[in-house]
Symmetry: C2
Subunit: 63 residues, 2 copies
Amino acid sequence: MCEANAYLERDGNEELILENVDIIEPENGQVFIRNIFGEQKVVNSRIKRISLIDHKIILEKIN
Amino acid sequence: MCEANAYLERDGNEELILENVDIIEPENGQVFIRNIFGEQKVVNSRIKRISLIDHKIILEKIN
């Protein structure tokens, strides 16, 4: 499967916040993510980097 | 494989700009994308929506 895991970078650490993410939508200083099970989160952050090969979405807090 | 294709939305149409994208990095009103063959582009745009299941990255022009 081609979903990715979403991590929030905080103080140099990556905290796993949602697995098996399908949808990613940045909007107004927030990032909406939804996984294949319908779980969703809105995170006060911006997208730092996504690597689809690594199945990794890195979000970072906006200062 | 789990890459996605990147499209730029313009006037309601989606124009394919890069296939087999691995890396996505938004920065300062631009989006950097790189595919598995090392081809890369910097697009004056923002990420509108990514669906990993659909293998689709939609960028939109910033007005």
